[in-house]
């Protein structure tokens, strides 16, 4: 067991930031043994809900650890006392439908020049998500994916400015009311438009659509985009033909791997690219170290600013694997790890690429 697999504990190395410490503090707060403080709230919100603790803990309550953290956050939301960054995150989602606070009207600005269709009862809705809609780096990867889909005949459309936050992070931040509003609105929109199959770019959206929306009547066939691509490769609809001389390691996103047990689809895609050698980081699959961006931390950033930040630890692991490309399948991981590569000054030896970008390159998709 590596205690450094817990992102907040790896960052701060105080028992308060460990899984057990967080739960004992929650109990102490609820029992009025300690008072609410900004520090207590930050400890609670620094958990990225990566589920490493649930996988590793041998005790019988392990499956409820993240639920306990989320429930404690709900208590904080109820009490109205949140870290200012969390409060801003939630306000932005409510006002603009994204955590960045950017205008709703700019949600599809990335589409310009791509000729991506809006959803009009095509086979799939491609749900882009907030990060790929607004973050300039992540936009490049969603563009690569749409071009792949177009080249290989996937029938899809996007929601454009109608798209709203999926609510996964809102849910994990403990804002149940806002999450329910988002879920109900999204489900109503999907139904109104006749959506039955959804491809998500982000594993976070994949998780919430697949595992939570059914409780609100949103029963859709949900796929992560790597699952669509791997099927196309298996069926010979996509044949990557351009050799990429690269040694690639894959970073498992928490919401694809530990939350939804999908470890193989991204790896299968990489393995099918000519000239590529797939290597593993020391911590992989269910033991993968979170990038530190989950549960809103890609925005509220309670884990940044240190060589011990999980994203920086992770890119050092990638470097140690001998890889020159760190592959990801999540726009949040993409942004977090690219920033970490700059902080670690590894730009000349390691680059982060989304699976969609790697495959597009190998298929000569411009």
């Amino acid at each position: 067991m590596d205690v450094n697999n817990c992102p907040p504990y790896a960052r701060f190395r105080m028992e308060t930031f460990s899984c057990g410490g967080r739960l004992w503090l929650t109990r102490a707060w609820l029992n009025t043994q300690i008072e609410w403080s900004e520090h207590l709230a930050e400890i609670l919100y620094s958990c990225t809900t990566c589920r490493n603790c649930e996988i590793k803990c041998p005790l019988r309550f392990n499956v409820d650890i993240v639920n306990m953290v989320v429930a404690a956050r709900s208590e904080m939301v109820e009490s109205g006392r949140l870290p200012s960054a969390v409060k801003l995150f939630l306000e932005n989602v409510e006002l603009q439908g994204n955590p960045y606070g950017s205008s709703r009207t700019k949600r599809d600005a990335w589409v310009k020049g791509c000729e991506v269709d809006y959803f009009k009862r095509q086979e799939y809705l491609l749900y882009v998500g907030c990060t790929a809609s607004y973050d300039t780096r992540a936009q490049k990867s969603i563009i690569a994916l749409t071009k792949l889909f177009q080249k290989f005949g996937i029938s899809f459309g996007i929601l454009g400015v109608q798209e709203n936050c999926d609510g996964n992070e809102v849910h994990k931040l403990g804002e149940e009311g806002l999450f329910e509003t988002l879920a109900e609105k999204n489900i109503a929109l999907f139904k109104k438009l006749g959506v039955s199959k959804i491809i998500t770019f982000s594993p976070h959206a994949f998780n919430i659509f697949k595992n939570h929306y059914p409780q609100y009547g949103g029963n859709f066939n949900v796929f992560h985009y790597t699952q669509i691509l791997v099927d196309l490769i298996k069926n010979k609809n996509i044949i990557p033909d351009s050799r990429l001389q690269a040694k690639i390691c894959f970073h498992d996103p928490c919401y694809l791997g530990r939350w939804n047990n999908e470890y193989e689809a991204p790896r299968e895609i990489i393995k099918n690219i000519p000239g590529v050698e797939l290597v593993e980081m020391e911590k992989n699959r269910e033991s993968a170290l979170c990038c530190g961006g989950g549960a809103g931390n890609f925005q509220i950033d309670l884990l940044g600013g240190s060589k011990d930040s999980p994203s920086r630890r992770r890119v050092r692991e990638a470097k140690a694997s001998g890889a020159n490309v760190l592959a990801v399948a999540c726009p949040k991981c993409l942004v977090m790890l690219e920033d970490a590569i700059k902080s670690e000054e590894l730009e000349h030896t390691l680059e982060v690429k989304d699976i969609s970008e790697i495959l597009a390159e190998s298929c000569n998709v411009d």
């Binding site: 308060t16 403080s37 207590l40 005790l59």
Partner: protein, 452 residues
């Protein structure tokens, strides 16, 4: 920010020092029954130089210092009884060297049992170490500090017998090395220099272990556990004697427990066996079960329950959830093997008195030279009444250990007092002189091993 906090932040950094309520609360208790006591500061250093600076600061200001490893002694040994600076050592977690040919590892003090186990499995699969039954986050140094034992205790003894060398920061801040590393750069032996190791079993009252060299052992290709059971506790000492005579086991543990109900009153004996080939395993099994214990089966006194491939680690802490709420504490003692029947009967009686399902365990240490006998008392941390019962049971057991002529293992404050009352006066005086010499201001983990 107060001056001490500022000084500590200057030594480490602001992230790794705190006097906020959250850190003071979390570091105020362990998982046992000891009363919580809050430290005034918590600090998490990453280097020996930082530890030196912290101790010098504490000495200048006469502030108590409590070193903490995994915090899993369960006996309150790192609860800051007099407040002060609690030093969380887990950040010092580098595996510095594994010498494969000479079979030893040099580790920083924060390396955990699981960290070393997984490192050896990955990088040196032919080597293993004696892993205790503690949770995997227990540190190697913490285990040595309390004279712990592991699952190679039968052939090799206490884990503290397996030390090849130590680096210690003395209470006054000097770095001191013991063993061959004190002469050169190699950490391969603790001998044959004059023995001045006064750091093990002292709970940090004489200094802080910062590095250690520990012996490693051959990891056989096949490892597994066989089980034997008898219904008469009086048979256990002679069975342990016979099993240890074969010198074929890695670990021998006798235990009895109330849960599950069908096992109540039965004495189980688990024997870990290791072999490099199927043939070797078969031969060892034949010697152990047929030749050594066959007579008990033929006489109708015992039964062989089978052999399971692979080791399950940890084992002992499994009883921790009997009362729910995650609380358990045990009295451990070092006892002669022939005391097993008395220990079992007494443990059962005390447990029943306090309405706790009984669990007793005796692990052979050395070739039958002694056993670590433990009486475990589970409690619910959320129910004060169960904690009170457990605490009373623990104190009663401490008394019994002394009455039976055993030595309490890793005693808490109550047990330390019992030992001190009975300690040879000259020995007590020597302890006093050593403490005074090394820790003139009495800052190190005060309240532990107090010599009046």
């Amino acid at each position: 920010m107060d001056n001490i906090l500022r000084s500590l932040a200057d030594i480490v950094d602001e992230t790794h020092v705190s006097n906020r309520q959250e850190e003071l609360f979390i570091y105020s208790f362990d998982l046992g029954t000891a009363e919580p006591r809050r430290p005034d500061y918590v600090v998490s250093p990453e280097s020996v130089e930082q530890i030196q600076a912290i101790l010098r600061l504490a000495n200048r200001n006469k502030i108590p210092v409590v070193p903490l490893g995994g915090g899993l002694s369960l006996a309150g040994l790192a609860v800051p009884l007099k407040g002060g600076i609690l030093i969380d050592l887990k950040r010092m977690d580098r595996i510095i060297e594994v010498n494969e040919k000479s079979r030893y590892a040099v580790l920083e003090c924060g390396v955990s049992q699981a960290q070393l186990t997984s490192y050896l499995e990955k990088h040196h699969p032919q080597l293993t170490h004696s892993e205790p039954g503690a949770p995997p986050t227990a540190t190697i140094a913490g285990n040595l500090m309390i004279h712990g034992q592991g699952d190679l205790a039968q052939p090799y003894g206490f884990n503290s017998d397996l030390i090849n060398g130590l680096e210690v920061v003395l209470p006054t801040g000097e770095i001191c090395r013991l063993g061959s590393c004190a002469v050169g750069s190699e950490w391969f032996t603790n001998h044959p220099l004059p023995d001045i190791n006064v750091f093990l079993g002292w709970y940090g009252t004489t200094g802080i272990i910062t590095k250690l060299s520990m012996r490693l052992f051959p990891a056989k290709r096949i490892r597994g556990t066989g089980q034997f059971v008898v219904d008469n506790e009086e048979l256990v000492p002679e069975i342990l004697f016979k099993l240890t005579h074969t010198q074929m086991a890695e670990d021998i543990i006798a235990y009895s427990r109330a849960i599950p109900p069908f096992s109540d009153g039965l004495q189980h004996i688990t024997v870990n066996i290791a072999a490099d080939t199927e043939k070797e395993l078969e031969w060892k099994q034949e010697v152990l079960w047929d030749d050594t214990l066959g007579e008990y089966i033929r006489n109708g006194d015992g039964a062989y329950l089978g052999f399971t491939m692979g080791l399950e680690r940890p084992q002992i802490s499994k009883t921790s959830d009997y009362k729910k709420g995650g609380g358990f504490e045990y009295v451990g003692s070092i006892m002669p093997i022939e005391k097993y029947p008395d220990c079992y009967r007494i443990g059962r009686k005390i447990s029943e008195k306090h309405n706790i399902p009984y669990t007793v365990t005796g692990r052979c240490v050395g070739v039958g030279h002694s056993m670590m006998f433990a009486w475990t008392y589970a409690f619910n941390r959320a129910e004060p009444d169960t904690i009170r019962h457990a605490k009373e049971a623990l104190h009663e057991t401490d008394d019994i250990v002394v009455e039976l002529g055993g030595v309490i293992w890793k005693p808490g404050i109550y047990g330390q007092k019992l030992i001190m009352e009975r300690l040879d006066p000259a020995t007590r005086e020597l302890m006093k002189k050593i403490k005074k010499l090394l820790d003139p201001n009495g800052i190190m983990n005060p309240g532990n091993w107090d010599v009046k």
